[in-house]
């Protein structure tokens, strides 16, 4: 399965490499990706099962959000909050 946007596709491929699974979805969601080994105490909470839009408003940002969730909790590796000097 390949997402039409290359950034989002890269983020999805990254998730698959980390052991996430993918399920085809209908409607505006292109697919649902989930981490099968999720534990209840995992800090990512609800973002271990994510709906991936076919046409996100800003694919670049969306890919970043996806990658952030896949890499652990929702706010781990974000550079969005860091003030550039």
């Amino acid at each position: 399965m390949k997402h039409p946007n290359k950034d989002v596709n890269k983020a999805v491929q990254h998730a698959l490499e980390k052991g996430w699974t993918i399920k085809v979805a209908s409607g505006h969601a292109w697919a649902i990706i989930r981490y099968p080994k999720n534990k209840p105490e995992c800090s990512c909470g609800m973002f271990w099962q994510i709906s991936v839009w076919s046409t996100p408003r800003n694919p670049g940002n969306f890919a970043k959000q996806l990658k952030r969730s896949v890499d652990g909790c929702i706010y781990p590796i974000t550079k969005l909050y860091k003030v550039k000097k």
Binding site: A25, G27, H28, F47, Q49, P56, K64, Q65, L80, Y81
Partner: protein
């Protein structure tokens, strides 16, 4: 216009939809700038990256869209608000040890935690503002993050108040 990054959690127990059925109406309502987490039964989480004039405009428009898309959706929480040391470190982009040092250093009176215990929690608005003002701190949170956390603080208080009132109105346990 600035990009605001925040997460909203909604309870959808009062709605007749399942979590999977919620995604399409959300897209149609304009939440195509959100990452929808559907990993829990009876609730959904939306991580927005919204372009808006102010945090108020961004968050209020998101809440309006979600409640329009899912009838009966109830706001549970706005993030980032209650944060632990690791969360603060992640939000400002430095190490946990760094924040821990600031919090325990007697020379710099760090804000008091709102929840004490084995895992103390702070309001990010308080800690973030403190980090901004303190000249000894190198890693600063962004202005947007502070703006968002201020509103998150306020909205979470309201959500907690509603919860308390519901609790009093029907003393039966809801689990």
């Amino acid at each position: 216009m600035k990009t605001y990054d925040y997460t909203l959690t909604f309870s959808i127990l009062a709605s007749d939809k399942s979590v999977e059925q919620c995604t399409d109406p959300l897209f149609e309502a304009g939440c195509d700038d959100a990452l929808v987490g559907i990993g829990a039964k009876g609730s959904i989480a939306l991580n927005f990256n919204r372009l808006a004039e102010s945090a108020e405009q961004a968050i209020q428009s998101s809440i309006a869209q979600v409640t329009m898309a899912i009838a009966g959706a109830q706001l549970l929480e706005v993030k980032p608000d209650m944060v632990g040391l690791s969360d603060i470190a992640n939000l400002v982009g430095c190490s946990r040890q760094n924040i821990r040092k600031l919090a325990t250093d007697s020379k710099t009176p760090f804000p008091q935690p709102s929840v004490s215990g084995t895992v103390p929690l702070w309001h990010f608005f308080e800690v973030g503002s403190w980090l901004m003002e303190n000249s000894r701190v190198k890693s600063k949170p962004s202005v947007e993050a502070i703006e968002v956390s201020k509103l998150a603080f306020k909205l979470n208080l309201e959500a907690q108040k509603n919860r308390f009132e519901q609790c009093i109105a029907e003393p039966k346990p809801t689990y």
